[in-house]
Structure formats: C-alpha cells, structure tokens
C-alpha cells in the first residue's frame, strides 16, 4: 500500500519543499546590523534599521508624517518588527542582544539599558552626541530631569528615552443622568461627591446592577485629595512607595493620616452601594466596564481623558438618545484647598529607550536623524504635523487644525492617518503638551487644555541602579499582593477600621516590604541629587 517507491517519491517532494522554503525563509531574515554603512556626505541618504514593537510599527507606517520625517532629514529608515506583544518584545531584546540581531537602533527598557549598557552590548552615545547631535546635547544640558534619566553616574549615555504628554485621569459623568436626578451643580469636594452619588443612587438604584461610581483596574482614586499619595516633598524626603505619582494602584503612603481617611471613605461608599463592588473586587474587565457605562448601569467614572469621546461614539446615544458626557473639575483636598493631580504615565518614560547595539556601523545616521527630531524643524513636524496639510500656522502664531482627529483615529489599518499621536511610540523626541491637547478630538479638546493646565502635575523621576531595581521588583511583587488584599479587607468591611487593626495593618505593610522599598527609593533619590 505504501510502497517503497511511493515513500521515496513523497520524501523527495517533501525535501524539495523544505529546501525551497528554507531558502525563502533565510533570504528574508532580519537584516543584520553589519550591513552596508551609509554615507554621511551631504546628499547621500543616511540609512539604518529600527527595531520596535509590531503595534507601534504598524501605526507608524500609516502616519502621514512618517515619509516626511525621513524626507526632511534625508534618511531612509527600515522598520523591523521586534515582537507583537509588550512582554514578548522586551523578551526578544534579551534573546537577540547577544547575537547582533537588533540592527542599528532598537527600543529597550531602562533596566535593559543599564545592565546591557554596562556589559558592553550598547554603544556609549555621549561622545557621539557631542559629535553629531548638537540639538540633543543642548536639550540634555538644559533639562536636568531628562539628563538624570539618560546619563549614568560615570557620564555614559547608553540610550535616549521618549517623552510622554502630561495628562491625567479626568472625572466624567453622564450629564443627562445628573439632570434627571435633579443635580444642578457639580461636587467640588469629596464630601460633596459622596452626596452626589447618594442622590444618584436614590434615583437610579432600583435598576438591577446599578452603581453610581464605576471603573476598571485600580479603584483607589483621588489619593491626592486625602494626602495619601506618593510624592517627594521640597526637602527631598520621599513619601510612600514611589511610583512616579501614577497612582494606578501601586504608590500610596500608607503611613499618612489621610490614607486611613481614604479607606474609611471607600468603605463608606462600598457599604452604601455607591461604588461598583465588581470594580473593588478587581474582577472588572474593560468590556464589562464599558457595557455598564453604555447601558446606564454607571454614571460617574475617573479614567483616561479620551474616554468620554469613546463612550459617545461607541453606542452611548444609540442606547439612550439623551446620552451625554461631561467632565467635572477635580475635587479640592479635605482642607478645602485647590490641588493638582498626578500624571497618568511618566512624562519621561522608562520603557522607550532608543539604544544603538555595539555591532552597528550606522550610529552616526541614527543620531543625525534623532538630532533632526530634536531640532526646531523636526519638532515642528512632530508637534504640528505637515504645514498646510495637518495644520496651518496663523499670523498670530497659533495653529489651525485642518484634519478631524475623531475621523482619523478610526481609520482602518493601511490607510494614511493624518492624526498626531504624541502619546504613541515613534521615536524619542521632546513632547509639546499644548500641541498635544490641541491635536485631540473635538469633545476632548474642549476640556483637555483647561483641565490639564489647571490640575496636571508631573512627578519627578527616580533612577534606580540595576541591583536596586532587582531588589525593588522582588519586594514590590510581594508587597503589592499583601497591600491589595489587606486594603480590600478594610474597604469591603471584612476588617473593621479601628485603631488596633490599623496598627496591625501598618506593621504588616512595613514587614512585607514597605520599609525596605521606601529605603531604596530614598537612597536612589538622594544619590541623584549629588
């Protein structure tokens, strides 16, 4: 049945197919960095390869400014997909760092920059910047925070990092539901806010599964109002577990008096059914949250600033023709003072460093391109796009936006996108917040600039050494678990908030890592000041 002849024939066909595909596969492998060097003579194009995550690569290819970026800097850049997922992208860096498969330029995490830079895997950019990148040099010298993030204690620069716009969460609400409940003025303090939620609960509480205040990820918002947030005071003392103020469930100063008040408040919300228990329990997904907000099972949220637009465009009005979302001002603190809130993400990022592997022969090309991005002409392009297409400069110096961001943001992949996305990773360059706020869609634009100018503040960065980073990561993993569990116990009422329990809580936190982590944070910050 399977005669020898047939098997032989099959084997032959199989091996031919394999050989053919192997040849095809080999010829389209990742370009090696030791390829042809690019001429630096004027007129000749500079070329290099750039290794970044697949998602950003695909987004960048569609950007209208991408061809312009290359044209105006006289470069020819080959984008290389280094991985399709955050975790796997950075893991691939680890896998390829020793084999020269990273090309001329790659994006890496700060920790990888520190460790591999010291081990010699990445080129020291400091002398190269002096030689080829005057704009970058000027920027580093005039921005001490940026300088501290890219320069190590010996003066080496193993990577330059990308910046991120200064934005915060915004507190948004269903304006129509407020009207229906008879709420005429927005709350200005936490106490007011509680009353507002109670009014909403009275009006809408009969709907199954309705909770006035709902959200996703961490529920411990508004720590700034209680003075329970992590920050560095003017005297240089670190308060709390430092997380750049991001407050997405990892920072907080448990020893602050306000922290106890904050948990008391959340416990109050939980007992009265004013906050979504699924959210508090940590089982809320993005989908369930979105559905709740769209179908009227929730009224108030505190989340990413473009969320109101998302809800308006993705079914809100089709479920309820009165659907309308507005943003309320940030609350004052418990003493009645106007305060600011912390940035949504670090303004100088720790996960978007551009490095040049040791084997690359095109470092000059990479740095000249980056220098263009740091120059006035490049910044103009990265902030305001193509003159006459994306924006039009007016006689008084302001810009008129010619494209509708809302329409650009939903364009299918593969079509030219005229939106400006300073928050997405392209290349490192200094961010312009005013331009960013103006580049957003109509609804978001209406509150972005005012809200952020009034309330947004950026946390100072702390740079850790590789050893500190390792210790801190291990401590944090344990600390966060205990922290979340014990805080949850207070909020959902399992543990009463009395003096005895609170003292035990603080003692637990200290021994679970608070003391150790706090010391690392303080030491690292002090070292930066020298």
């Amino acid at each position: 049945m399977f005669g020898k002849k047939k098997i032989k024939a099959a084997a032959l066909v199989l091996s031919l197919t394999m050989v053919a595909s192997a040849m095809a596969g080999c010829s389209s492998s990742t370009p090696s960095s030791s390829g042809s060097t690019s001429g630096s003579a004027d007129g000749a194009k500079l070329s290099f390869t750039y290794n970044l995550e697949g998602k950003y690569l695909n987004w960048m290819k569609d950007l209208a400014i991408w061809p312009e970026m290359q044209k105006q800097s006289n470069t020819d850049i080959t984008l290389v997909n280094g991985g399709d997922d955050d975790d796997h992208y950075y893991q691939n860096i680890d896998l390829k760092v020793s084999s020269g498969g990273l090309g001329d330029a790659a994006i890496a995490r700060l920790s990888q920059v520190q460790v591999y830079g010291a081990q010699g895997a990445f080129q020291d950019l400091a002398p190269l910047i002096d030689k080829y990148a005057p704009n970058i040099k000027k920027y580093i010298d005039s921005n001490p925070e940026y300088k501290s993030m890219v320069t190590d204690k010996d003066g080496h620069i193993y990577g330059i990092t990308a910046e991120y716009p200064l934005i915060t969460n915004v507190t948004f609400y269903r304006e129509d539901m407020f009207k229906a409940a008879g709420i005429t003025s927005n709350p200005t303090t936490i106490a007011d806010f509680t009353k507002t939620l109670e009014t909403l609960k009275t009006k809408f509480g009969s709907t199954q599964g309705y909770y006035p205040f709902t959200g996703r990820d961490s529920y411990l918002h508004f720590a700034e109002c209680f003075g329970a947030d992590d920050y560095i005071d003017d005297s240089g003392k670190v308060h709390g577990i430092y997380d750049y103020g991001i407050g997405n469930g990892t920072g907080y100063d448990v020893h602050a008096a306000g922290f106890k008040d904050m948990l008391t408040w959340y416990n109050q919300l939980y007992t009265k059914g004013l906050i979504d228990p699924e959210w508090v329990a940590g089982t809320q997904t993005e989908e369930t949250w979105q559905t709740k907000m769209l179908t009227g099972k929730g009224t108030v949220g505190d989340d990413f600033p473009t969320r109101p637009t998302w809800f308006m465009n993705n079914g809100g009005p089709s479920n309820d023709k009165n659907y309308s979302i507005k943003v309320m001002n940030f609350f004052k603190d418990t003493k009645g003072n106007d305060i600011k809130r912390w940035n949504y993400d670090a303004t100088i990022r720790t996960d978007r460093y551009l490095v040049i592997p040791a084997a690359s022969k095109n470092a000059e090309a990479v740095l000249k391109f980056e220098d263009f991005l740091f120059s006035d002409k490049g910044l103009q392009l990265m902030h305001y796009g193509i003159e006459g297409t994306t924006t039009e400069k007016q006689s008084d110096g302001t810009y008129k936006w010619l494209k509708d961001f809302g329409a650009e943001a939903v364009k299918p992949l593969g079509t030219t996108n005229y939106g400006m996305y300073q928050d997405r990773l392209t290349f490192p360059f200094p961010v312009d917040n005013a331009a960013y706020y103006d580049s957003l869609d109509t609804l978001t634009k209406s509150y972005a600039s005012d809200y952020f100018t009034k309330y947004a503040k950026a946390a100072k960065p702390i740079v850790y050494s590789a050893d500190q980073q390792k210790q801190r990561s291990q401590l944090l993993a344990k600390y966060q678990t205990e922290f979340t569990a014990e805080v949850l116990g207070f909020v959902n009422g399992k543990t009463a908030i009395n003096d005895a329990n609170w003292a035990k809580f603080l003692a637990d936190m200290d021994s679970d890592g608070y003391t150790a982590i706090h010391k690392i944070d303080q030491d690292a910050y002090d070292a930066m000041q020298k």
Binding site: F2, M18, S21, A24, G25, K55, D84, N314, L413
Partner: protein, 291 residues
C-alpha cells in the same frame, strides 16, 4: 445485533446532547458577535442570534493588506500540512522501532525522552540552539523541532504495543524485513491511532502562536493564530492594535473584528475534522491472525 433501547439509552443520549450544546454555545456566540453591530454587542444584547447582522468585520479582515490574513491563512495551512505529515511520519516510525521487543536500546532511549519531557529546558536555551541551527525567521522552525512530541510518541507506542506479536512473527517467516513490515502491515492496521496522532499534531501546529511569536518576526511567515493574537487579543494600556474602525460609514468595533478573526481561525479545522474522524470511529477487525 439489534438490542432494545432501554431507559439508559434515552438518558444517556439526552445527557450527551446537552453536553454537546454546552460545547457549541461559545462558537455560536462568537459567530453571532462577529456578524452583529458592535453597539448591540456592547449593550449586551447578543447571545445566540446576531443583532443588525452584517459582514463588515469579515470584509475588513480579509481585504486589509496590512493584516495579511490571506497570506497568514496560507502559512498556517502550509505549517499544519507539512508539519503534520513530517511529525506523524517521524513519530510513528520511531514509535514502531521503540516498541519492538528485540530492539534492545529502546529502554534507554525512552528514558531519555521521558527525562526531556519532564525537565523542560526553557525559552533561552531553546532559542540559542535554534538560532545556531539557523531556524530563526525560518519556516522550518514550525516543522523540525516539534517533529516529535514525547506525549504523542508514547501514545503511539502504546497503540503499537496492542498489536499482537504473532503478526510480526508471521511476516518474518515470510521473509519480510522491518521496513516492509512497518509500511505494509503495521501502518495500514494502525489507521485509528495514526489518525489520532495526526489530528493531535495538526491541532497543535494550527494553534501554535508562541513559537511564531518568538521566532517568526518576518510578516510574510506569520501564521493566522499569531495575527489573531497580535492584532486582537494582546492588549496593554494603550489598547490593541485594532481598535474600532470606521469602514464605509459603519463603525466596526474591536469585539466584532476579534470574534470574526477567531471564527476564521477555527473554521478550517472544523471543516477538516470530519475527514479524520471517520478513521477512529469505524470498527476494525484486528483479529485477522488465527492463533
């Protein structure tokens, strides 16, 4: 032999049908979501029937050159087809050799297989080996290293052990050599087990996205599961790559696109499955040798 249907039969059948419904519900749901209007999906209205049915999600996925779905589909078919044939051939032939009692080295070799089955080396050593063999960004990474799955090897060996020795002895007396015995006698008899192994390998190869994620960065080589993963499923705080898009005035939401792609990855196997299935539901008379 006709037997009367007892109460047991009715209860058994009903329970099994209920079980089948539980298994099929998610697929129905995925299909309905992919054909529905995203807003209705978000409002929680779609269970087992689409709302505002449309095929925009499918149109978008299949026609977008950036997604490369058709190329990925072809890649998946190629990896699965060639990979399964190679794997079944190597595995079954090796299982045959190792199940022969006269092959003295089988104990040692099986122990080696088992040790490597339990002590998994981890990502980095595997990467280093594969890289030095030139398998990075090479389609052969989906064919050669997974050619033997220890689990399936042992199952094959178990199947082969069940075949009575007398068949082999009879063939030897007739003057056949090992290869002829393997190909002309054991191979045809073992159709149910070969079909089983082939199915398992095919499914594993079709579903595999971790290996391509690490080794195949070249867009032209990516299989369908990886496209699904990178465009729809993997998300971080900036969202997945395929957020809601507006095509021809219709807002196609992420859930529609994701579910449409999921359905596309499931369909080919679902179609191919019945062909394999007939091999292990048919009865086969093994008792062809008179003692």
């Amino acid at each position: 032999m006709k037997k009367k249907s007892t109460a047991f039969d009715y209860v058994n059948t009903i329970l099994l049908i209920l079980l089948a419904l539980v298994c099929i519900y998610p697929f129905l749901n995925i299909l309905c979501v992919s054909l529905s209007d995203g807003k209705a999906v978000m409002a929680g209205k779609v269970y087992i029937w689409p709302a505002d049915a449309n095929i925009y999600a499918y149109k978008y996925i299949l026609s977008s050159p950036r997604l490369g779905v058709l190329q990925a589909l072809w890649n998946s078919v190629w990896y699965t087809g060639v990979g399964t044939v190679v794997a079944v051939f190597v595995t079954f032939m090796s299982a045959y050799v190792l199940s022969r009692k006269r092959f003295k080295a089988s104990k040692v070799i099986m122990t080696l297989f088992l040790i490597t089955y339990v002590f998994e080396a981890g990502l980095i050593p595997n990467y280093i080996i594969n890289r030095s063999l030139g398998l990075v960004n090479n389609p052969l990474i989906m064919i050669l290293p997974p050619a033997i799955n220890t689990f399936y090897l042992i199952i094959s060996k178990s199947f082969l052990n069940e075949i009575p020795e007398s068949i082999e002895e009879a063939a030897f007396i007739d003057g056949a050599n090992d290869f002829q015995i393997f190909s002309k006698i054991f191979f045809p008899i073992s159709k149910p087990s070969i079909a089983t192994i082939a199915l398992f390998y095919a499914v594993t190869r079709w579903n595999d996205f971790l290996n391509p994620l690490i080794y195949l960065q070249n867009d032209a080589l990516k299989p369908l599961q990886l496209i699904l993963y990178s465009f729809c499923i993997s998300t971080d705080r900036t969202g997945s790559m395929l957020e809601n898009v507006m095509v021809n005035g219709v807002m196609i939401m992420h859930s529609n696109i994701a579910d449409a792609m999921i359905f596309l990855t499931i369909i080919p196997i679902v179609i191919a499955y019945p062909f394999a299935q007939k091999y292990f539901t048919k009865g086969i008379l093994v008792g062809s040798v008179k003692e």
